[in-house]
Amino acid sequence: MLLSRGLLKRHSVLPGFDLALGFALLYISLIVLVPLSAAFLKTFTMTWAAFWDAVTSPRVLASYRLTFGASFAAAALNAVFGLVVAWVLVRYDFPFKRLIDALVDLPFALPTAVAGIALTAIYAENGWIGQFLPFKVSFTPVGVFVALVFIGVPFVVRTVQPVLEDVNRELEEAAATLGASRWQTFSKVILPIVLPALLTGFALAFARALGEYGSVIFIAGNMPMISEITPLLIITKLEQYDIAGATAIAVVMLVISFVLLLLINSLQTWARKRQGGV
């Protein structure tokens, strides 16, 4: 319905719809679809049995669990604390606020390998933080989680921040005068407004974490069945010149990621609708 309405919309107020749509489709095809379909095509060189073997061996299954589990957990943690950070940055004034604001973007810019090496050093058993922790972080699945939290932070903060800036303070004041408790104001007034943005931020952080290689590889320890992420297994296959096997795993990851992101996106649309179409 939505699609057909969009395609049939001929007389828009803005000119150049056809051209823009054509360009957008071409651009997405060239940049995203063509390389991805190359990956799909490569898997067609395998028999179905070989494909199934490649993507369901116990080691690969263990890596899906770690990759998707740790990515989900990291994105969830970032959704909670990213919201807090965004809230603080928007609502409060304090010294060095601009500096802190700029720091949020650092994980975007830092080469991931640098992040990985730094995190490994800090969380190793002789590291600044690692020596005080009762459990091991570097070279365990916990390390993977820590790295993914690090790279995901800016996605949540940067998507939620502008929405929070637009939230009308009068709404909160109105809620307060009407006798709402602080919790009610937060859960019934503010959260519904930021929820779509928060879900977007979550989805971005989650998607980024799924594909992350550079930083994780240093901190994970890469123990088979325990702390191997799926991208590592893809590289492992490539090292054995098993290009078809590598793309097979990549395709499975791609499909699962796509389905999950689609799900999160429709959740977000639902949240936006419920809120009354902002």
Binding site: A121, A124, P224, I235
Partner: protein, 341 residues
Amino acid sequence: MERPNTSRTRRALLLSALLGAGLPTLALAQSVTLLNVSYDVSREFYKDYNKAFLAQWKQGGGGELVINQSHGGSSKQIRSVIDGLAADVVTMNQALDIDMLALRAGMVPADWAKRFPDNAAPTTSVTVLLVRKGNPKAIRDWADVARPGVSVVIPNPKLTGNGRYSYVAAYGAVLKAGGTPAQARERVQQIFANVPVFDGGGRAATTTFVQRNIGDALATFESEVDLIREEFGDVFDVVYPTWTVLAENPVAVVDKVVDKKGTRKQAEAYLKWLWSPEAQEIAAQHGLRPRNAQVLARHAKTFPKVNAFTVDEVFGGWLKAQKEHFDDGALYDQILAANRR
């Protein structure tokens, strides 16, 4: 003679004018460019080697020559060459990678290793063990890192040549000492049960051992030892196992590329000079064992005599070793699976 030359110059001028100053090599239309695609840690050696080679090349009237380098993980580099990176020569640290170039793309003949002396490997190294200063765990041989309670850092054999050589060294050492394949398997199984971290690269494993202070020993190439010492100080001892593997660093001219570019003469001369005493000396200074006996004798202190076997001798070549030990589901995967039980 006059005409084609001037027209070529004019064309070059036109081209460089069109493309701007961004591609300075174009201005030297007559100069020949060679691309040496190599593995990661050979950067420093080839920097010095290229300088020395070019000096003698020009002295001998070889004409203008520019040598470009590309470094990276070895199998990634070979994949790039297969996919079209125009390498005139490849210089690797494992024959398997060049075998792949022959097998997958036919870019070098299958008998590439016979086209130069010494298995086409001008330099070698051996896999050694680094232990903590003073050797507190008394590690003298592969058997010692197989003991329970000892931990040894080995880079991931699935990802790194360094890791594969370490595995092969430990396995072959048992066979060389008269053991059976079953005993060899048990030995590597015990050793890999003692590996706390599987780093994705040789240098990353070094960092884990030296800086993270993880493991009682680190398996790595002898050629890395000086570099590690320069970087981190004299915080470890080097242990030469009774038997270890000779890591050969093979080189090959990429036929398909040089025939197209017309650079065969230069490419062959470039690789051949690796065996010259001067080049062997440069290699020795970079921690690579020279093939030249006199140069080796001069550096006897750096390169003590070791009992080293080749992969060809014990495993029947890298292709076979890869298939029987490192492919998915092969012996290495089996011992890891057995260790988890």
